[in-house]
């Protein structure tokens, strides 16, 4: 039996930022309607990717809530949670359901409402991605864990402060022309190294911001694809997990989940790494971006930030990354981020990326992490024939 192809037929993105006037459901509905189009198609399934609706909005049961709000009563719906990899994981479920032939279409929406919480409450909500008894208990936030990792990385691999700043600088440059990005101002390495200290050596500009957002895509197969749809094909996707806490790992600098997920997704897609036209990297912190690039094999060990500083990943290079600003500048509404990456890859492969367009983009990959590479969800997309 020949399997049908799986496509992304449309996407909806809400600009990321302080959406004071919009609730979590408002955001999810807005993004979803963008993906369902004016004709308001009815998908066979709805999947919500979200990390902490219970804390950010006192709300669970998000799948049914969003489905009902969209008038999709009767549609099967549920939430998928994998910390900051919720978006990529939710997409992976939808992709596999359509690929298997169980359903013909799925709406996947990633949403996060962070701004109703005070900053320390956001830290607490995010910290739930780590052990309650042994990480949260000692007072470690994610910034702290990544601060430890950053110091270790810089000491072991001789990476300087300015080198570490290169990915945030690159992100900001790309976000200037990105309509849905949270921060659209270019920065210099000095801006990074002078910004407020968060978890030594990580400073404010090493860290992805807090923001509200939602991004959705409609997955279809050959049978239900619309004649006017702009399509990108989903070629492969893999999720891998690692030892839970970064400090439990024998080699903390080896992002094993990302390495496994990347290898698996590309193998499934039948696409070699050098064929990728662009890459959306999960740079929740500058050091995470660097280590992700190394795990995916694009930079040698210790070289991730240094290569970025040399322009290896800039716009116009052979492998541009974070084409709309990545987590640092486009933003990181945690459970939604994976879906933003996927929506951005879709826009690139359907020539809808405007001033951020990677000319002639043929293949794209997205890498979405939960925890410190505890969960990694990688997907590969191709321009539809």
């Amino acid at each position: 039996m020949s399997r049908s192809k799986v496509y992304i037929a449309s996407a909806g993105l809400v600009p990321i930022g302080d959406q004071w006037g919009k609730s979590i459901v408002d955001l999810a509905v807005e993004a979803s309607r963008g993906a369902l189009g004016k004709g308001r198609r009815k998908p066979d399934q709805l999947i919500v990717g979200n990390m902490f609706s219970a804390i950010g909005a006192s709300q669970e049961h998000m799948g049914a809530l969003v489905a009902s709000s969209l008038g999709l009563t009767g549609t099967p719906a549920y939430k998928v949670e994998a910390a900051c990899a919720s978006g990529g994981s939710a997409f992976n479920v939808g992709y596999n359901l359509v690929k298997s032939g169980a359903i013909d279409s799925a709406l996947v929406v990633g949403v996060e409402k962070m701004r109703d919480l005070e900053p320390e409450e956001v830290s607490q909500a995010l910290a739930m991605a780590e052990s309650a008894e042994y990480t949260q208990f000692v007072g470690a936030t994610f910034a702290a864990l990544n601060g430890l990792l950053a110091r270790y990385y810089m000491e072991q691999e001789n990476v300087s402060r300015d080198e570490l700043s290169s990915i945030p600088v690159l992100d900001h440059a790309n976000a200037v022309t990105a309509a849905h990005a949270q921060f659209r101002r270019a920065i210099t390495p000095e801006v990074v190294s002078r910004s407020a200290m968060i978890a030594d050596p990580l400073r404010l500009f090493d860290c992805a911001p807090v923001g509200d957002g939602a991004a959705a895509v409609l997955l279809t197969n050959d049978r239900v694809v619309g004649s006017k749809d702009k399509l990108a094909e989903v070629l492969g996707g893999k999720i891998a997990t690692n030892e839970f806490s970064v400090y439990e790992r024998d080699d903390m600098l080896d992002f094993k989940s990302t390495r496994e997920a990347f290898k698996g997704a590309l193998a499934q897609a039948g696409v070699a790494p050098k064929k990728l036209s662009l890459l959306e990297v999960h740079d929740a912190f500058s050091v995470v971006g660097a280590l992700s690039l190394e795990a995916m094999g694009f930079s040698k060990r210790g070289q991730g930030s240094k290569d970025a500083k040399d322009g290896k990943y800039s716009k116009g290079s052979e492998l541009p990354i974070n084409t709309f600003g990545g987590l640092k500048a486009r933003g990181h509404p945690v459970g939604a981020t994976g879906m933003y990456q996927i929506a951005e890859a879709y826009l690139q492969l359907t020539d809808q990326a405007g001033s951020n367009q990677v000319e002639g983009a043929r293949f794209a990959a997205t890498q979405n992490i939960g925890g410190v590479d505890t969960t990694s969800a990688v997907h590969v997309f191709g321009r539809a024939a």
């Binding site: 830290s123 702290a144 430890l148 806490s245």
Partner: protein, 129 residues
């Protein structure tokens, strides 16, 4: 709040971690399964209280409940038996918190449930001097 931490109080006060009955590797926090050999024959084992700092950070933006301590040091400490533990470093002379510093465990107030709730005690480390 109290019961979740009461359950692991021996782990917090005495650093009772795990030892693999098959290959002997020791862990803190405790494990369900040996990461080295895959055995499920895991026993409780009290960890040594001395170690050295592998890496550290100084956190300026703390979690709720930890504001009074900020900024404070968090470190990954390698204990004498090879187990690695994430912990605060407290009460250490200026400049002494660094990679390679020798540290020892102590018990401190870790969290309190406001002024009328329970006090949760737990491990912290300090630089030997």
């Amino acid at each position: 709040m109290g019961i979740q931490y009461w359950r692991v109080r021996d782990r917090y006060y005495r650093l009772i971690g795990s030892k693999c009955a098959d290959c002997g590797r020791e862990y803190f926090p405790p494990v369900y399964r040996c990461r080295a050999c895959g055995s499920e024959r895991i026993k409780d084992k009290e960890m040594p209280k001395e170690g050295e700092i592998i890496t550290y950070t100084q956190l300026h933006e703390p979690l709720p409940g930890f504001e009074s301590l900020a900024p404070f040091y968090l470190a990954l400490v390698k204990l004498a038996n090879g187990a690695r533990i994430l912990t605060q470093i407290v009460d250490s002379p200026e400049g002494s918190v660094k990679t390679g510093a020798k540290v020892r465990a102590t018990v401190r107030r870790a969290k309190t449930d406001g002024d009328s709730g329970q006090i949760i005690y737990g491990f912290k480390f300090l630089v030997q001097s």
